[in-house]
């Protein structure tokens, strides 16, 4: 215990530790502020879009009135009646847009959710009849259903949605859409989601592989407890070898002190965006939904996704974040054990970081087997079962990932200990 506390004290006394943590905090704050400015920009853009539509319909009303007057002068009563109907329709649309704009500005989301649900209802009722598309490429029925259910849950909880570059039907992007070319570009533009509140922003970050990045940086800062003291120029480890401490005690103290700091650093980096949000739009609701795929049943055509019959459900942010928390514990343990082992061989933090980053990147892309621990790095896709659905492999699950991290982490830690134990000569 004393050795462990001593190692912790050493880490805390280093100026590097404080400067690194401060830099990391500033970077995350910078990232939050950038996201906030983007959200504000999109918000203004959406309001401007409402105003453009409002002006457009007002112009239609004026043009139709003019045409009606001309028709009356010409004695064309049929045309005048037609124009009358058009004027009524345009005025209704104009009033509708006016109400929607006011609701958007006041953030009374219930009105907007009801409007979106009304627009999507026709496609829900008749999935084989009609659909909505982006430049001739249709949005899948699965996406429409998932979007509808998501809006329903948001309306029930009276929660704020993510902000998107559109005022019509904030679609939830799913894996069931296969857009190409300019349709894909447009789809990605309108479905890119930005979190307004703390929890939503955190979900957005987690989807961008924020946790692996934070853990890698944490390993870089805290993972050199033995390697930094066993180089050719710095032989501080020799001092420990002459103390009445067993090798196991030294190893455990150094290993655990680095891991504890890594864990605290990772949790701090997850908390910073939430703290920043307290000064802007608030934390938000923990009842917001996250889509979880239920997979596709095998059919006569082999493994294909069925956008009409495949099902899904939603979990709330609270359940999602509990899973993320447990994942952070075990993922950081796994990555730290790899980094620690590599650092015992390489002793250069830059190279160790590059190697670990390269191994993670290759591992993430090389195989989608459930026994590949790196496939669980993108934890959002594991919790939502996106990878399991796309690869038709139900074995790729959250619990499998955690078990793999624990077992492999322990094995690598033991290997690291044996490397340290048998490294009698420090040169």
């Amino acid at each position: 215990m004393r050795a462990f506390l001593f190692e912790c004290k050493k880490l805390l006394k280093k100026k590097t530790t404080f400067v690194s943590i401060s830099l990391s905090i500033l970077s995350v704050i910078g990232l939050y502020l950038f996201n906030y400015s983007v959200v504000e920009k999109i918000n203004k853009g959406n309001i401007a879009f409402y105003e453009i539509n409002l002006e457009r319909f007002n112009n239609f009303v004026n043009d139709s009135k003019e045409e009606k007057e001309n028709a009356i002068e010409a004695g064309n009563t049929a045309k005048a009646e037609e124009m009358d109907l058009m004027i009524k329709r345009y005025q209704e649309s104009s009033t509708n847009y006016e109400n929607l704009k006011k609701s958007y500005e006041k953030e009374s989301w219930k009105t907007l959710y009801e409007e979106d649900m009304k627009n999507l209802q026709i496609f829900i009722n008749d999935p084989n009849g009609s659909s909505i598309g982006i430049e001739e490429q249709l949005i899948s029925n699965f996406t429409i259903r998932a979007t509808y259910e998501e809006i329903k849950i948001l309306k029930e909880n009276n929660s704020k949605p993510f902000i998107q570059n559109t005022i019509h039907d904030n679609f939830l992007p799913t894996i069931y859409d296969n857009f190409t070319g300019s349709s894909l570009e447009q789809w990605e533009l309108i479905t890119k989601r930005y979190g307004r509140e703390g929890f939503s922003f955190l979900v957005q970050l987690i989807q961008m592989l924020y946790i692996p990045a934070v853990v890698l940086i944490g390993c870089f800062i805290f993972g050199n407890t033995i390697s930094s003291e066993s180089t050719k120029k710095r032989r501080g480890i020799n001092f420990y070898k002459v103390l009445p401490y067993s090798n196991l005690k030294i190893f455990v103290a150094k290993y655990l002190s680095g891991y504890v700091f890594l864990l605290l650093f990772s949790l701090l980096m997850l908390a910073i965006p939430l703290v920043c949000s307290l000064f802007t739009n608030g934390l938000g609701s923990l009842k917001n939904p996250i889509l979880v795929y239920e997979g596709s049943k095998p059919n006569i055509f082999g493994n294909t996704l069925n956008p009409i019959d495949d099902q899904f459900h939603f979990i709330d942010y609270q359940e999602y974040f509990w899973k993320i928390l447990l994942f952070v514990f075990l993922f950081s343990f796994f990555m730290y054990s790899i980094y620690f082992l590599l650092s015992l061989f390489i002793k250069n933090p830059n190279i160790t970081l590059i190697l670990l980053g390269a191994i993670t990147f290759i591992g993430l892309n090389i195989s989608s087997s459930e026994f590949n621990p790196f496939i669980y790095t993108d934890i959002h896709k594991i919790i939502t079962r996106e990878i399991a659905t796309l690869t038709f492999n139900p074995g790729v699950s959250y619990s499998t990932g955690l078990k793999l991290y624990l077992i492999i982490g322990l094995i690598l830690s033991f290997i690291g200990y044996f490397k340290f134990y048998f490294n009698k000569e420090i040169t």
Partner: protein
């Protein structure tokens, strides 16, 4: 000169750079082998894509024919049936040309298919491809026919210029340059941490001279890495692929829809990557000599690169931001970026950073 050679020798002795060069060659070779093996997939993907279009059109034809049999066919629908039948025939021709590997026929037939498809879409027929994409493809095919070149798959091609373009997009980006800096930067920060710099500063060599030598040696190493990237990505297809004559005239579409030749693209890519590499190294020298700590220097450089990558991928490309040119592929195909302005900006920024590094270290002690 001796100091410069000594710096080069030091970097070489760290072995990290040698391993990095080896891994770069391995990566490029691995990608080439993967593309070589997957050449048949290109044909399979094209056939699958047009087969899906064909079945959509055939579905419509069956519907119109059923309406005709029941006597429900209107004149509009009859016109649609005629266009759909013509389109169906042209798609069949196209699929045959793809399978027979007759590239000229393929290009000509594809133009016909998309022209008919645009007409069919205007009649509210089913053809799931955007009009903009079809028009772009027609322009590209016309350009290729003018130059006498077959169409290449931008991801799986093994023709030298297209393969080189793929390597540029994969390696010459903020992450690629970041890895290069992480490898090279140890030669600066470690000297301060291990106190070797004390010995250097007592030598009869001025500090500005020492810093400039450090900078030039790192730039030379960086240029060597860039040379390896471009050379290997050219050599492998040149040796093992049946290269098309005039392949370096292959037209590439810019963001605004204009065409640039692949030779022009590669020239600009080399220029941007060279100057961006010089700029990155000047940042490394600046922070390395300022902070003198490995972990903090690298964290700063990592955050700078990742932060700029996030800004760029969110569509905020500013010509006055030197980090914009770190995405070499995007910088070249973006019509708004001018290579003269970009390279001048990068070079100017590098000079400013070097002057600041020299000035800050002129009288600063070593602790």
């Amino acid at each position: 000169m001796k100091l410069f050679l000594f710096e080069m020798k030091k970097i070489h002795h760290t072995r990290a750079f040698t391993i990095f060069i080896f891994l770069t060659v391995l990566f490029i070779s691995g990608l080439y082998i993967k593309n070589y093996i997957q050449q048949d997939i290109i044909i399979a993907n094209k056939v699958q894509q047009f087969s899906e279009h064909r079945s959509d059109v055939f579905g419509d034809i069956q519907l119109y024919r059923k309406q005709k049999e029941e006597g429900l066919l209107e004149s509009e629908t009859e016109k649609k049936l005629a266009v759909a039948s013509k389109l169906h025939g042209e798609i069949n021709e196209l699929i045959q040309a793809i399978q027979d590997k007759k590239w000229e026929t393929e290009l000509l037939t594809e133009i016909k298919v998309y022209q008919s498809a645009i007409v069919y879409q205007e009649m509210k027929g089913t053809f799931e491809k955007s009009k903009k994409d079809m028009l772009d493809t027609i322009s590209l095919n016309e350009e290729l026919l003018k130059k006498g070149l077959p169409k290449e798959d931008m991801d799986l091609s093994i023709q030298p210029p297209i393969f080189m373009k793929k390597i540029v997009s994969l390696l010459l980006n903020p992450f690629g340059f970041l890895i290069l800096l992480l490898i090279l930067g140890t030669s600066i920060t470690r000297e301060f941490e291990e106190k070797n710099i004390q010995m250097v500063y007592v030598l009869p060599v001025s500090r500005p001279y020492y810093i400039m030598n450090k900078f030039i040696s790192l730039v030379v190493i960086g240029i060597f890495w860039l040379f390896i990237v471009f050379f290997i990505s050219y050599l492998l297809p040149y040796l093992f692929t049946e290269t098309t004559e005039n392949s370096f005239s292959y037209p590439l579409m810019s963001m605004e829809g204009n065409f640039i030749t692949s030779s022009h693209y590669l020239k600009e890519a080399m220029i941007y990557s060279l100057f961006y590499m010089i700029f990155s190294i000047s940042i490394l020298i600046f922070f390395g000599f300022l902070i003198r700590n490995t972990i903090v220097t690298y964290l700063l450089i990592i955050f700078l690169h990742i932060g700029n990558f996030i800004i760029l991928t969110n569509g905020f490309m500013y010509q006055v931001n030197p980090f914009t040119y770190g995405m070499v592929d995007l910088g070249v195909i973006n019509d708004d970026t001018q290579s003269f302005f970009g390279t001048s900006l990068l070079f100017g920024a590098s000079i400013v950073l070097m002057i600041m590094s020299i000035y800050m270290n002129k009288r600063r002690g070593i602790r």
